[in-house]
Amino acid sequence: MDEVFKALADTHRREILDCLREDNGQTLSQLAAPLKMSRQAVTKHLVILERANLVTSVFRGREKLHYLNPVPLHEISRRWIKPFESARLETLHQLKTKLETEN
C-alpha cells in the first residue's frame, strides 16, 4: 500500500492519471504531448505508477496502451470506508461540488 501513496504523492503522476481518466488507453507519446513533459520523464513516472498497479497496460500490435487501474484505490477505500458510509460521502461530495461550482 505504501507504493500507492508514494505514487500518488506527486503532481505529475496525478496529472498522468487525470489524463488517462479523460482518455483511457494511451501510448507514451500520446501522454507526453499534452503534459508538456519529456518522454523520459513520463516513462519514469509510468514505471512508478505501474509498480503501484495504478496504471496497467496492454499491447495492441507494437503499441503499448496505458490504462488507469482503479483496483488498488478500490481496495484502499474498502479498507477505510464502510459500505453504509458511501452514500453519505457521495451526498457530501455532490454538495461540495455544487457549492464550489456556484462560486
Partner: protein, 162 residues
C-alpha cells in the same frame, strides 16, 4: 483484432495464488458467486461453450455469451451480452501470468490477473455499469484467494518480463 479500436477497460490485480487456483476460481460454478456479487455463472468453459450468468435473488438470466478461446490456466476469452439490452455483445478476456512478488517470495507465488473488456457497442448502455463492477469483482477475488492461503499479497511486486 489489429483493426479493432483500443479496449475500453483494462483492470489488473496481483494475487498471492497459483495460475491453476485462479483458473479454478474463475471457472468453477459454485465458487464464482463468492466474489461476483452472488451471481451464478454457468459454463463448461471450453471453446464454443455457452456462458450464462444468473441473478442471485430471482435466478433470472443476467448476462450470457460464448467462449471464444480457452487456454487453461492462462487465457480465457468470452463474449458478454446483457439480457434485455438490445446491443451487440462485448468481449471479455482474462489473462493470467506468473508475477514475481518482491517482498513475499519467489516467482510463481504471485499471479498477475488482467481483465480486458472491449468491443462495446457505440453509445453502449451497459458500459457505465460494467466499469463500476470489475474493480469490486477483482478485489473480492483477491481477498477470497488470499484468505485461503492466509497471507495477503501487498502492493509490492515486479511486473512480469515483457
Amino acid at each position: 483484432m489489429s483493426t479493432s479500436p483500443k479496449p475500453e477497460f483494462v483492470y489488473t490485480t496481483y494475487i498471492r495464488t497459483t495460475p491453476e487456483k485462479l483458473w479454478a476460481a474463475l471457472t468453477t460454478d459454485d465458487v464464482v458467486p463468492r466474489y461476483w456479487f452472488g451471481n451464478v455463472v454457468k459454463s463448461s468453459w471450453g471453446q464454443g461453450d455457452a456462458v450464462q450468468s444468473f441473478d442471485k435473488d430471482d435466478g433470472t438470466l443476467d448476462w450470457d455469451g460464448e467462449v471464444l478461446e480457452s487456454t487453461p490456466p492462462s487465457k480465457l476469452v468470452f463474449t458478454f451480452r446483457v439480457e434485455g439490452v438490445p446491443e451487440k455483445a462485448s468481449q471479455v478476456t482474462y489473462l493470467i501470468e506468473a508475477a514475481e512478488a518482491v517482498e513475499f517470495g519467489p516467482t510463481g507465488d504471485a499471479v498477475k490477473f488482467t481483465v480486458i473488456h472491449e468491443d462495446f457497442a457505440t453509445d453502449s448502455q451497459i458500459i457505465h455499469g460494467v466499469s463500476r463492477g470489475w474493480p469490486g469483482i477483482l478485489s473480492n477475488l483477491k481477498t477470497m484467494l488470499e484468505s485461503e492461503t492466509g497471507t495477503p499479497l501487498g502492493l509490492m511486486w515486479k511486473p512480469p518480463a515483457e
